[in-house]
């Protein structure tokens, strides 16, 4: 579509008729994040992601705090995934302090971590539903998410920010009734997942919208450094829980999903399978959990050995890693956080260019990009 007629009569010069549309930070489909798309007709020809609206300097702030004081601070970066973001920080700090958490604490960490993964995935599923215009798939997962928040509340005490995974163990033990309650919840939720499949994942219109949309091939995913569900959807069986087992994941039997489709549909299915596997992991943990103490007594002003440490866990959105350098004082000298959201952001530009405008929300949210986590 070009207008050959200029102001001074006929001319051969083409008129630029591309539309630059700013998505976010006040757009309902963006969150605390902005990207500018250039649209030609119904096709996106250029994307300019612009993160940083919620940068709070979490890395720098940890340099002025004790290790235990940093826990509630770091949690705020990823409110849907609180257990997993402080997990690698505590693991790295323990390595510097030269201590190890007791076995019961390790199992409790796994239970809480997998519970958190389900909470995060349900939140993701709700938003993916409403981004595709499916209002029931918005209400159901967000309603069922509350049940898992209740489970987390039974152990952690709070509903969202329970600062559970601390250096030296976990904050408190789980109550006696937790196992019974959790098994009841899982039985209910497995039935609900079948409902989800019927109304959303097997919905012909959803398949039409998701299949063959936003294809990220295996080689591209590896080359761009994608992590987590995005990488697994691109036919790479990569999972920190298998590759570098922490806690007692090597004793647990579970599957890592991977799909050959490499499209938005595959990324949605990875989340669905992972929720089932998380419940499977918690069931096994509840059977295997030993008795004993849940934390090592540490001083509030706990000193560390000088040196460096690096720890990585599999968070809901992918590999979450902390690199801590300590000079032997009560505070870390430097902390570097590697968050999965930020590593997956580069994929967004790759996938959006050449796609339809209407596919933009579906592709964007299938990467599970969480702006607050990416900006730290």
């Amino acid at each position: 579509m070009s207008l050959p007629v200029g102001a001074s009569g006929l001319s051969t010069q083409q008129v630029e008729d591309k539309l630059v549309v700013s998505i976010g930070p006040q757009h309902p489909g963006a969150g605390h994040f902005r990207f500018t798309i250039t649209v030609d007709g119904d096709t996106i020809v250029d994307v300019l992601p612009d993160p940083g609206y919620v940068h709070r300097g979490a890395e720098k702030q940890t340099e002025y705090r004790n290790y235990i004081q940093s826990i509630p601070l770091l949690e705020r970066s990823s409110l849907t995934d609180v257990t997993n973001i402080i997990g690698p920080f505590s693991l790295a700090a323990e390595e510097l302090m030269g201590i190890q958490a007791p076995p019961r604490a390790q199992y409790l960490r796994m239970i809480m971590s997998e519970n958190q993964r389900i909470i995060s995935h349900l939140y993701w599923l709700g938003i993916q539903g409403i981004f595709l215009g499916h209002s029931t798939m918005f209400m159901w997962p967000l309603g069922d998410r509350d049940i898992f928040i209740d489970l987390g509340q039974m152990i952690g005490g709070a509903r969202i920010t329970y600062s559970y995974w601390i250096p030296g163990g976990v904050r408190n033990d789980m109550p006696e009734v937790f196992k019974e309650r959790a098994l009841k919840v899982f039985d209910y939720f497995e039935k609900r997942l079948q409902d989800y499949e019927r109304i959303f994942f097997a919905n012909p219109l959803f398949l039409k919208r998701a299949q063959g949309v936003g294809i990220l091939k295996r080689q591209e995913a590896i080359a761009l450094g994608a992590v987590g569900p995005v990488l697994r959807a691109s036919d790479v069986k990569s999972d920190t829980r298998i590759d570098e087992p922490y806690c007692f994941y090597k004793d647990i039997d579970f599957e890592v999903p991977s799909f050959k489709d490499c499209d938005t549909y595959a990324r949605c299915m990875v989340h669905l399978v992972e929720m089932r596997q998380s419940m499977r992991i918690i069931r096994q943990c509840l059977d295997k959990i030993p008795e004993g103490p849940v934390k090592v007594k540490l001083s509030p002003q706990q000193r560390t050995l000088p040196g460096e440490s690096y720890a990585r866990v599999e968070a809901a959105r992918g590999a979450m890693a902390f690199h801590i350098i300590s000079d032997g004082s009560t505070k870390p000298y430097r902390v570097k956080i590697s968050v999965p959201s930020f590593r997956n952001l580069i994929v967004l530009k790759k996938l959006l260019i050449g796609s339809h405008v209407a596919d933009m929300p579906a592709i964007y949210w299938s990467l599970d990009y969480w702006p607050v986590e990416a900006d730290r």
Partner: protein
């Protein structure tokens, strides 16, 4: 609305409220006036409330070029009936089968939609406005919108921005004039009412385009362009799906079509046509899965983005009146209109059928995601037009063999 500091601002606010009350109150006051003052007088004169119109006039052979019959609004009877009785044109178009009735019905459709969706999604839905299940929620929303400030973008085209809500309301009201809701309860009984209804439906995307263009907003503009794309994909199947029924009845009058269905409702022989009409009507009222022009996750609110306060409220009301009108046309074409067992007034049967159709229009919103515009065009041109032609073919066979 902001803080009032000067007398001028106070005056402006009062004038705004008075302006909107002047528009809204006739809808409420007029029927009350008729119920309290006019109807009792007519009862005393031996007037029958339930058949509050002139005798049915089934003159089929009307000259096609008679403008008075082509257009219900310039008919000579319009002027002669401009009285105050329940038989008058004013009462019929403003109150009972017309705008007030449809507005009240539409507000209950909005409430019903919210309750039905809430039940599907394990929620409660509206609860507190009105003691019984929040049935007054739509009216509460109306008064909320009344008291909100109208924000007009600085670079919007003022006239073109304000005109579309009222144009849409006028078009919806005109659409109602073509719909007979009983054998003797109608606004106009034109022999071309179906043709007029389809012509009026084609006006809506133009109004949408004006609204999107005048808003001077990129999201509005994309939404308006999408509305045009959507129109070219559903308009032709919509007209073709109706053609089968027209072939069977040899008539373009909705009341004649409805009255022909005494033996069998046309949904049985014309099932394909009914399905195509239902799908295209869903696209016409921009409901999920076809709410592409106002896709909220990609286009904020599409062509409605810049509309606030009662400008938004009027558009919303017009869209729901259009939904009612399309359900009514579906009932007339395929479900036998007002035909039903005797004993109750015929428009009661019509309303029962129409409300069932409305509920069927509402339910897909809980099941389906939104489809993409290119997929809609594919569906419209590949499948719906083909199915509509199959339907026309079936109608030809049924008509030429004399079965129906």
């Amino acid at each position: 609305m902001g803080e009032i500091t000067t007398f001028e601002q106070f005056l402006v606010r009062v004038l705004k409220i008075v302006f909107w009350l002047l528009i809204i109150l006739p809808m409420i006051i007029l029927p009350i006036f008729y119920l309290v003052y006019v109807l009792p007088v007519e009862f005393q004169c031996g007037f029958n409330l339930l058949t509050c119109a002139v005798k049915p006039n089934w003159t089929l052979a009307i000259d096609m070029f008679n403008p008075a019959e082509m257009n219900p609004f310039v008919s000579s009877s319009f002027i002669s009936q401009l009285g105050l009785g329940a038989n008058s044109m004013l009462f019929k178009s403003a109150a009972f089968p017309g705008l007030t009735f449809a507005s009240v019905l539409a507000s209950f459709v909005i409430w019903g939609e919210r309750k039905i969706l809430a039940k599907m999604q394990y929620r409660v839905g509206p609860k507190y406005a009105g003691r019984l299940e929040g049935w007054l929620q739509s009216f509460a929303d109306l008064f909320k919108l009344l008291f909100k400030e109208i924000v007009i973008p600085a670079k919007a085209d003022l006239l073109m921005f304000i005109a579309p809500p009222f144009a849409m309301m006028a078009l919806s009201g005109a659409l109602l004039a073509t719909i007979p809701i009983g054998s003797s309860t109608y606004i106009s009984n034109s022999s071309y009412s179906l043709l007029i209804a389809i012509a009026l439906l084609s006006f809506f995307p133009i109004v949408t385009l004006i609204a999107g263009w005048a808003s001077n907003n990129k999201f509005s503009f994309i939404g308006a362009i999408r509305a045009l794309y959507q129109m070219i994909s559903y308009e032709i199947p919509l007209i073709l799906s109706v053609l089968g029924v027209v072939i069977l009845t040899h008539s373009l009058s909705l009341s004649v079509i409805a009255s022909y269905q005494t033996k069998i409702w046309y949904i049985a022989p014309m099932f394909i046509g009914a399905v195509v009409f239902f799908i295209t009507a869903t696209a016409e009222v921009e409901r999920i899965p076809f709410d592409i022009p106002e896709a909220d996750s990609e286009l904020v609110a599409g062509w409605l983005t810049e509309y606030t306060s009662m400008l938004f409220g009027v558009i919303n009301l017009a869209v729901y009146i259009k939904l009612y009108a399309l359900s009514a046309i579906f009932t007339l074409l395929f479900l036998g209109g007002w035909l039903g067992p005797a004993g109750v007034p015929d428009f009661v049967w019509f309303l029962i059928k129409t409300i069932i159709v409305l509920v069927i229009f509402i339910i897909p919103r809980g099941f389906f995601p939104r489809i993409r515009i290119d997929q809609l065009i594919d569906t419209g041109w590949l499948w719906l037009i083909g199915l509509a032609f199959v339907n026309v073919f079936i109608a030809f066979i049924l008509n030429s063999t004399g079965i129906l």
